[in-house]
Amino acid sequence: MAIRHRDLSGSRLIGRVLTHGALIIASLVIGLPFIWMLTTAIKSPAEVHLFPPVWWPEKIRWDNFVTAWESAPFGRFYINSIITSSTGVFLEVSIASLSAYAFARIKFRYREMLFMVLLAAMMIPGQVALIPNYVVLKHLGWINTYQGIVIPHVSSVFGAFLLRQYFLTIPDSLYDAAEIDGLGHVRILFHIALPLARPVVGTLTLYLFISKWNSYLWPLIITNTQNMRTLPVGLAMLRQAEYAIGPEHLMAASIFVLVPVLLIFFLAQKQLIEGIASGAVKG
């Protein structure tokens, strides 16, 4: 956008104040639930049940986090979430890279046709597949297992498209030179294409990690014992009456689940948002 050098005349000043005012209000509306979550998590049970509410507790109750952590096997939930999210991301990114490279660089008679098949897969919503996937996993004996949580969701359409687009922008001369040096497709992929695509692969990895970490419906269906639950499923279970814990503990437990995601978001927010804006990842 062109920079306009002009004096801050009255009307422009008002415009600026209004712009910031509107943005601050919007940011508050978006931010308040997070703040409310945090302050509720450190209140005493008596303070939680006050109206009008107190914004900041008299004494910070850190022990709410301890109570919340001990109300369910959160350590185990953490391990389950870390294992399933990271193996899922690793597999999905690998599968995406291999497909993307094949569609970008390897000649094959039915390539265009197979590409259309890949396109078609993007239109099928995963929610339609819940029952059939459950039945398949039952036959495989994978109900309530890590592979049951992970494997149905590591096929890649979007990631494959994204990386293919990127691989196509790498100049042919680079590929040709590698071929003359006698490198096969596997080596070209790992030593040339993927290293060049590192920023895109990085954004894709973070985005996939967050979405796997957050996923709820499938792990809910496929796990049936406490010790296999992932964090979102374990957190959701806390609402049940048998746990009998207060809102302050529910908020504290919600914070456990959110911390890794918020950490990734704040460390990489620019990369993630710009990735989304440029169509690199879908929301």
Partner: protein, 301 residues
């Protein structure tokens, strides 16, 4: 793609390439086949049976699941809720997102911070989001009551009231999604050439005219894309509803994915749930196909 000119003796290489290609795409196509394409076929098959997912035998009942669906008042309510959710979120969310995007696209201070805050719900675990919103909507001690009382009204019993529960869900869906739409709108705004505005300004156009005559028409591809993405996203809503209301009270917030889940995994009516899943599939497929058609005709590129 670049065209290669190859010596004739490359056929051996072509063969090798065919093998390499197949090996590279095999894992993906195997998984897509088993977990994406096969489920459509199998859902269709199951929708003609009565089955509880455990019994070794499935009972063929023809079209009965579909007949039952047509006669199931809950199904029609679920369908209506799903459409209300989709329609009401999309307009409010897009209007707010566009407004914010226009404001944020100006040269202003702290632009990145505003953007990060407004975008943050996009990546926030929906179960945790639903937990905190459930507490915000608490009619006695919830945060929202503070604001409602401040304007002299009484707080409804949000999630416990058949006429307020769906609006509460709509609020949460808008809150979660407005930042994503805003970021996409900002990208769309950046693609509009600034010369257009400069020329309009020379002609004495007001910012209001500029918005309706330049910005809005030229953003139509983005608006169209976001409309489709939002509608399809709302059709798939599950997490927030499962946590906040369990589809209640009295099915007032029950939507199609939640109803599929209830039928399949709580009541073990696998055949009926499969028929519902196919209905969802057909709705989403229709929207996607209409989109590809209309995108060519309507949108102002």
């Amino acid at each position: 793609m670049k065209k290669y000119t190859r010596p004739l003796r490359m056929s051996k290489r072509e063969k090798r390439d065919a093998w390499t290609f197949s090996a590279f795409v095999f894992p993906n196509f195997l998984l897509l086949g088993v977990f994406v394409f096969w489920p459509i076929v199998y859902s269709l098959y199951l929708s003609f049976f009565k089955w509880n997912m455990i019994a070794p035998r499935k009972t063929f009942i023809g079209m009965m699941n579909y007949v039952n669906m047509a006669n199931d008042p809950v199904f029609w309510q679920v369908l209506r809720n799903t459409l209300v959710l989709a329609a009401s979120t999309v307009f409010v969310k897009l209007a707010m997102a566009l407004g914010l995007a226009v404001l944020l696209n100006r040269k202003i201070r702290a632009k990145d911070s505003y953007r990060a805050v407004l975008f943050s719900p996009t990546f926030t675990t929906s179960v945790a989001v639903a937990m905190v919103w459930g507490w915000i909507f608490d009619p006695n001690f919830g945060l929202l009551r503070v604001f409602i009382n401040a304007v002299g009204l009484r707080s409804p019993n949000w999630l416990g009231d058949v006429s307020w529960a769906l609006p509460a869900i709509i609020i949460v869906v808008i809150w979660s999604g407005v930042g994503y739409d805003m970021v996409i709108f900002m990208a769309g705004l950046n693609n509009i050439p600034t010369e257009l505005y400069d020329a309009a300004k020379v002609d004495g156009a007001t910012p209001w005219t500029c918005f309706w005559r330049i910005t809005f028409p030229l953003l139509s591809p983005t608006t169209f894309f976001l409309t489709i993405v939002s509608v399809i996203g709302s059709l798939k809503a599950f997490d927030v509803i499962a946590i906040m209301t369990d589809g209640g009270p009295m099915n007032s917030t029950n939507v199609i994915v939640y109803y599929i889940y209830q039928n399949a995994f709580q009541w073990f009516k696998t055949g009926y749930a499969s028929a519902l899943a196919l209905v969802l599939f057909v709705i989403i497929m229709t929207i996607t196909l209409v989109q590809t058609r209309l995108a060519r005709r309507w949108v102002h590129y």
